[in-house]
Amino acid sequence: MTTTLTKPPADTAPKPPRRGRRSRAARAGGQLHAGPIAYVILTLFAIGSLFPLVWTAIAASRDNQRLAETPPPFWFGSNLLDKLEFAWKDANLGEAFLNTTFVAGVSAATVVFLSTIAGFAFAKLRFRGRNALMLIVIGTMMVPPQLQVIPLYMMVAKLDWTDQLQSVILPSLVSAFGVFFMRQYLLQALPDEIIEAARVDGASSWRVVWHVVFPAARPAMAVLGMLIFVQTWNDFLWPFLVLTQTGNPTVQVAVAGLGRGYTPDQSLIMAGALLGTLPLLLVFAIFGKQIVGGIMQGAVKG
């Protein structure tokens, strides 16, 4: 591997390499090896990405007094477990976790299912009005949630659904993004010949969906499910409006309501924030590679 001798990254305005070298570099294209500067920049960026999270844990392990001193703490204190336990009880986090897992799970499963069949229809089936309907789907992605919360709030108030989880679940089932995402995936991942072959074998549309579309769409379904789960887990505006901290909160509502006292306990707030984030961070740590791959796949087709 003599190519490892190629120049360090381009951001340091390289002098044009010699002729023979250049053609090697050209063959490598965007795949030049990164030099030390690239690693330094990336590492700084990684630290910037992680630091607020780590510091959340550091702040949660201290107390109000220590947080009101300079310099700010850089290492863990001894209060972490106490604070976590206290936040857990104070913010009703146990119930909030169950609620959020339920809400996000139901939303993700339903959105994935509905998006896959709708995305299949838009990608592979011919029907009147297909393009117009697809335009509507794309258009709905532009509608700001603020525009919908007022009537939804009225509906919820009328039905007496305040503090009930269905008031959070039902609106979250509409995901134009999901339909779009699955359509883009199925357009290229599902060859028409397979559908035709299934048709010739006498399979109904529904059997085609069950035996051909779902297996082919599985990777995209997993990614979409994860994206919707994260989104629902972190959703703030709407749950904040219809759920109360004492009633039936999701994690975000519970965390936002922490430490609302006269002199809020900052480390307690941080403990709550940490607890609310930790499950997703764990999921990302375990499935990080797949999630990254999924986001990048979706990006190219989008």
Binding site: A10, D11, P16, A26, G30, L32, H33, I41, L42, F45, S49, L50, P52, W55, A59, T70, P72, L114, I117, A118, F120, A121, L125, R126, L133, V137, T140, P144, Q146, L147, I150, P151, L152, M155, K158, L170, L173, A176, L187, R199, V200, G202, S204, S205, V209, N234, L237, L241, Q252, V255, I269, A273, G276, T277, L280, F284, A285, G288, M296, Q297
Partner: protein, 337 residues
Amino acid sequence: MATRHDTAAPPAKEGGAAPARPPSDTVPSQDAKKRARLSRRWQRDVRWSPYAFVSPFFLLFLAFGLFPLLYTAWASLHTVELTAPTDMEWAGLHNYTRIFDDEFYWNAAKNTLTIGIISTVPQLLMALGIAHILNYKLRASTFYRVVMLAPYATSIAAASLVFVLLFGRDYGMINWALHFVGVDSIDWQNEKWPSQIAVSTIVIWRWTGYNALIYLAAMQAIPQDLYESAALDGASRWKQFLHVTLPSLRPTILFTCVVSTIGASQLFGEPLLFDANKGTSGGSEHQFQTLGLYMYEQGWVSQHLGRASAIAWTMFLILIVIGIVNYVISRRLRASS
């Protein structure tokens, strides 16, 4: 892309499950009947199943998307109080006309614009740079990619709460770090530009890594021979970035601009939670109140749902204008290339 699949419709569409045979082929009549019956069922299936597949989405959309949209328009023409949301009194366009004299509305609109710019422009530029670096051959590239997604996994609530502390005036980490370079402690809460920068920082922190991945994906889709021929023409790496990478990324850049703009125009949780006094006015002087936050304040604190609806619709109209501008720009780009 889509149109190509139109022509490749399943053979059933042409009247039968099996591919039509040439007419010279003699077929037993019983078989023909069976085929005809099957074919009728086929046609029904092929004709209606697409609608069955898309209808659940559209039913949900009608109930929880379109109806609220239209009802908000209706409510914006009325005087409605939060305490009695069904008591609507016709107000015509008053909720809209009053906006013209509402200094807080214009303040919020300006803040939304400035915070939008401060948060979107550096975010996308940084994402572009990071993506460029990630596009090199790297050790531990998966590690870097996953780490920069961690902020994306963090909720608005958790992120905003920790940034409130980091941006603290007296004991915050950022002021402490700044004093080493001779900057006096900045009041990130109460001063206008610092507070807007702080709110933007939360947005930038959460979204830069995500956008970098999207750019990276698009960069990896650029055909290698483009770089090859550019290199043969003697273009430096920087020139290659300018003349090959950037033009190829144009659709993706446009896409991220649109998505970020939509997100910026709806900013709500960050400014709400950044306020250390737990207010809804975006700081004591409304210095970082966005339109989303102002709508919330009007509807849920002042309890004027009609006014809030009108504000929401103006936000939507602004987005539509942005959408049209984007459409025009992207058509120009396509025409020019």
